[in-house]
């Protein structure tokens, strides 16, 4: 065990030292990173991993909603149907959204920034603090989730979240996916495609969609692994936490905002 850890450490140090060289040597734009470790199916998650994300808002294209669509497909949000008699306006306000497209304009300069806003997977999540039933919880690997078995739909967490990341399911849900259970009266939010991670995959649907469209604005991985792509990216250039003043130590970081 110790030997293999030593080996890994050496390998990482070697990669770190040689990062500049490999960037040139392998191919332009191709970097060598340690691949995120897949967890065996039957094992519990541990705090050895902390999943995190870096969003480069400068690469986020105006008018693009690929990440939102991919998220909706992956998590069955597009299966929800508008209740009879509800206006489009009301439905748009009520339909659960795990990612919101946010457009920010600097009124002084006129500069417009687009960014996807979702659950920031805080280390100190206010939603978990206020939950009266422990339905809101933070998994050992840093994913903040809702345990719908315990959620009573009080929506305290929606009030507490500074990022407006949580949604409430108002109506009976007719169609749902096996991987994404959903029912009336519970709160929900982005869970970093937890079913994928538990099945040994190491990417989220939004990240894949963004890369497929050639924007590559989303980098996802293990923040605890200094060799992971996301850790390397965070180390190389500056990034910010949104509402850093709240000292929540968010798992989602932004660049270019």
């Amino acid at each position: 065990m110790n030997n293999s850890q030593d080996t890994n450490q050496k390998r990482r140090q070697f990669l770190l030292k040689g990062a500049a060289v490999t960037a040139v040597a392998v191919a332009p734009g191709v970097m060598l990173h340690t691949a995120a470790k897949a967890k065996p199916l039957g094992d519990a998650v541990t705090d050895a991993v902390r999943w995190g994300m870096l969003v480069d808002a400068a690469k986020c294209a105006d008018g693009c909603d690929s990440c939102v669509q991919a998220c909706n497909d992956e998590n069955g949000l597009n299966l929800l149907q508008k209740p009879q008699g509800a206006s489009d306006e009301m439905w748009d306000e009520q339909i659960p959204k795990w990612i919101r497209n946010v457009k920010v304009k600097d009124n002084l300069t006129g500069h417009v920034t687009n960014l996807p806003m979702m659950c920031q997977h805080c280390e100190e999540p206010p939603c978990v603090d206020v939950c009266p039933t422990t339905a809101s919880f933070r998994r050992a690997d840093g994913i903040v989730m809702v345990d719908r078995h315990l959620c009573i739909g009080c929506r305290y967490c929606m009030m507490a979240c500074p990022y407006k990341a949580r949604s409430f399911v108002h109506e009976v849900v007719e169609h749902k996916l096996t991987r994404a259970p959903r029912g009336k009266g519970c709160v929900e939010s982005c869970n970093f495609c937890v079913h994928r991670l538990d099945d040994g995959k190491t990417t989220t649907a939004c990240q894949d969609a963004c890369a497929k469209d050639g924007h590559n604005a989303i980098t996802f991985g293990d923040l605890n692994d200094p060799g992971s792509e996301v850790s390397q990216a965070l180390k190389e250039q500056s990034s910010t936490q949104i509402r850093a003043d709240l000292k929540l130590n968010t798992g989602v970081r932004y660049r270019g905002v």
């Binding site: 967890k39 199916l41 039957g42 094992d43 519990a44 998650v45 919880f137 998994r139 050992a140 690997d141 989730m145 345990d147 719908r148 078995h149 009976v172 849900v173 169609h175 749902k176 996916l177 096996t178 991987r179 259970p181 959903r182 029912g183 009336k184 519970c186 937890v194 079913h195 991670l197 538990d198 099945d199």
Partner: protein, 131 residues
């Protein structure tokens, strides 16, 4: 005279009890109809998690244990995973489409209907395998 009446009532109680047991066992026979169904479970000789008698009484505890492990600890593919129960026990109709397990007479509903226990899982969980 009094003793006789007592004996009489005892016999009557016994008869009622026997009748009730017969009723239960005949209904219990209906519950095992899934063995004749079109589900994957119907083709399996050996029970997968535990034997049928254990599962009839304790499946809710098994599922609850699995749900805590899965949701809160990220353990997947465990015994008692509800999605696995459904994948194996769901029947197919003539066209090969899945019949929801909570539909009348199907695996979950038939038994829950008989014992008059609400079936809450499917307020959130899919009643057929959907990927």
């Amino acid at each position: 005279m009094k003793v006789r009446a007592f004996e009489h009532s005892l016999l009557l109680m016994l008869a009622v009890a026997l009748l009730a047991m017969a009723g239960v066992s005949s209904a219990a026979a209906d519950w095992t109809d899934w063995k004749n169904g079109t589900s994957r479970a119907a083709t399996v000789e050996k029970s997968c998690v535990r034997d049928a008698a254990f599962m009839r009484r304790n499946h809710m505890e098994v599922i609850k244990h699995a749900r805590i492990d899965t949701v809160r600890k990220g353990v997947r593919g465990v015994d008692g995973s509800l999605s696995e129960c459904i994948a194996c026990h769901v029947n197919k109709d003539d066209k090969g489409a899945h019949i929801p397990v909570n539909q009348e007479g199907q695996f979950c509903e038939a038994c829950h209907h008989y014992v008059g226990v609400a079936l809450d899982c499917y307020q959130c969980h899919s009643t057929v395998p959907v990927n």
